[in-house]
């Protein structure tokens, strides 16, 4: 019996390993062959840093640097705005009457469940209809990113608020705090973890977005990282330059996410 369990265990581990290998194979291959200086997946030129050298060629990297700058501006402003908007409105939503609350939360779910293409198209048509109020460019992008990020912020704060003892807020009021002070000194510290994870989620969502940006960037020439990759790498084939960029991306993303999560796990273990 024990032997059979062991065999089952080995099969399970093998299966998990296989799926992981499949998930990471393309990424791994790109990283390995970013050192080949070619995009042909062969080391005919030997081991070289040529691909990485092209990163410093101003002719090649101008578009990328511009896209990175736009992505950063967009992701930072969208995530900050949606976190502030989300944090205050969650407190408000929590205090709403049952029916209104349900309605607001349902509408809040719409951007999350809706197909991205539909959301992108509807915003595009909306902006086009009111183009005098919403000029093309960053404004439209920030608004649309806030629109799809804030629901996630709200939903990451709401559970914490629901677990909070309402007496804490009342106690602060009884002790002479005005509602605003009570909010800042009592409610906010308590829901802080939700705010932080909401912010992180909004930031990564905005950073990663392609479809909504693609539809709403207009023709002002604003490219984010996603749309730039789409415009450049899709049309031409993948050049060594992109091998280097993708590799750096993979490594940075994985290190960041792993570190963040390992830290979180350690914290939980300590608790």
């Amino acid at each position: 019996m024990k032997k059979r369990n062991l065999a089952a265990r080995i099969c399970a581990e093998g299966y998990l390993g296989l799926v992981l290998a499949l998930l990471y194979l393309p990424i791994f291959l790109i990283i390995v062959f970013s050192f080949s200086g070619t995009s042909r997946f062969s080391f005919t030129n030997g081991f070289t840093f040529d691909s990485y050298k092209t990163l410093f060629d101003p002719e090649q990297n101008a578009g990328l640097l511009d896209a990175l700058k736009n992505t950063a501006i967009l992701a930072v402003s969208a995530s900050v705005i949606s976190t502030v908007l989300g944090a205050f409105s969650t407190i408000g939503i929590y205090a709403l009457g049952r029916k209104t609350k349900k309605l607001v939360l349902t509408v809040n779910q719409l951007p999350m469940i809706n197909s991205e293409v539909v959301m992108a198209v509807s915003l595009m048509v909306f902006f086009a209809a009111f183009s005098t109020i919403f000029p093309q460019g960053m404004t439209r992008l920030i608004i649309s990113h806030v629109a799809f990020c804030t629901p996630y912020v709200v939903l990451s704060i709401l559970p914490r608020l629901q677990r909070m003892d309402p007496n804490m807020y009342e106690a602060a009021l009884d002790l002479g705090a005005n509602p605003f002070a009570a909010m800042i000194k009592v409610v906010f510290p308590y829901i802080m973890p939700g705010i932080v994870s909401g912010f992180a989620m909004a930031f990564t969502l905005s950073l990663d977005d392609f479809i909504i940006t693609q539809f709403n960037k207009g023709d002002t020439g604003i490219e984010t990282l996603s749309t730039y990759i789409y415009e450049d790498a899709r049309v031409k084939s993948l050049e060594p330059f992109w091998f280097a960029v993708f590799s750096i991306f993979f490594v940075v993303m994985f290190t960041l996410l792993l570190l963040m999560n390992i830290k979180r796990t350690q914290k939980e273990v300590k608790k």
Partner: protein
């Protein structure tokens, strides 16, 4: 009096966001709805619906193809993903880093991953077509299937399984009669998280088939591009997509009473 005032002031915090949602979520969808009934001269018409549902522009065929590709993608993801989530929950419930490794690819931009796979297919001289598109879709959506499955499987109370075993069920019966039904909410939410994006995505099929295979997302994209400019039919297609989304979510809500599962990211 004081109590009334405080309730009022706290509610007021929600008002800006309610206006925001109305303006940038509800109104745009209403505009799409209105657009669906307008012709080029902005006059009321059913022509757009007629054009789409009579398959004049091939829109209905594209929808059919997308549904099939989406279904196949979802099925493959479920078949590959369920054992993954199950083994992870069974043997590695406390190993968060390992679970994370399965979810991580989700956070790497899908264009980067898709273009990488395409480059590899090209290097291997694989003919781009249905096979490569399906591979790309599964590769892209597998984490979205594993995550909700894992969340439900991990939260299953182990005493149910023990009870079943004590009552004489063999391993297969325990799985079929206890684990599988209890993980149904995860299955349903995994299916929606894969199926809806899979039918409406654009770029993946375009990149991995060299624009030979056309999905519903691509079709909507095309109708709203400046060169074709057929917003009416595009709006009808968006509405069809919206109906699919709503239906999928009603099913999710029916199968799972646990709100945490449906709202899992």
């Amino acid at each position: 009096m004081k109590k009334f005032k405080f309730r009022f002031s706290r509610r007021a915090f929600a008002y800006p966001y309610m206006i925001f949602l109305l303006l940038f979520v509800v109104v745009p969808l209403v505009i799409i709805l209105i657009n669906a009934f307008l012709d080029d001269a902005n006059k009321f018409t059913f022509q757009n619906f007629a054009e789409f549902f009579s398959d004049a522009g091939g829109g209905l065929t594209v929808l059919g193809n997308s549904l099939i590709i989406g279904l196949v993608t979802t099925l493959i993801c479920l078949v590959i993903g369920y054992p993954c989530a199950y083994f992870l929950a069974k043997y590695h419930a406390s190993n968060r880093v390992l679970v994370l490794l399965f979810i991580l690819p989700m956070w790497v931009n899908f264009l980067i991953r898709t273009l990488s796979t395409k480059a590899i297919f090209m290097a291997l001289d694989v003919q781009l077509g249905m096979g490569t598109v399906l591979f790309g879709m599964v590769y892209n959506y597998l984490p979205y299937m594993i995550l909700p499955l894992h969340t439900t499987l991990v939260s299953i109370d182990h005493s149910y399984i023990e009870a079943a075993e004590d009552l004489g069920a063999d391993k297969m019966t325990v799985f079929l009669k206890t684990v599988l039904p209890l993980s149904l909410p995860g299955i349903v939410s995994g299916i929606t998280m894969t199926f809806i994006p899979a039918i409406s995505t654009f770029a993946i099929s375009e990149i991995l088939s060299s624009s030979k295979i056309f999905l519903f997302g691509d079709a909507i994209n095309m109708h709203f591009s400046k060169t074709t400019n057929s917003f009416g039919v595009g709006s009808v297609m968006s509405l069809v997509m919206l109906v699919l989304v709503v239906v999928a979510n009603v099913i999710v809500n029916l199968t799972s009473k646990d709100e945490e599962v449906t709202s899992v990211l």
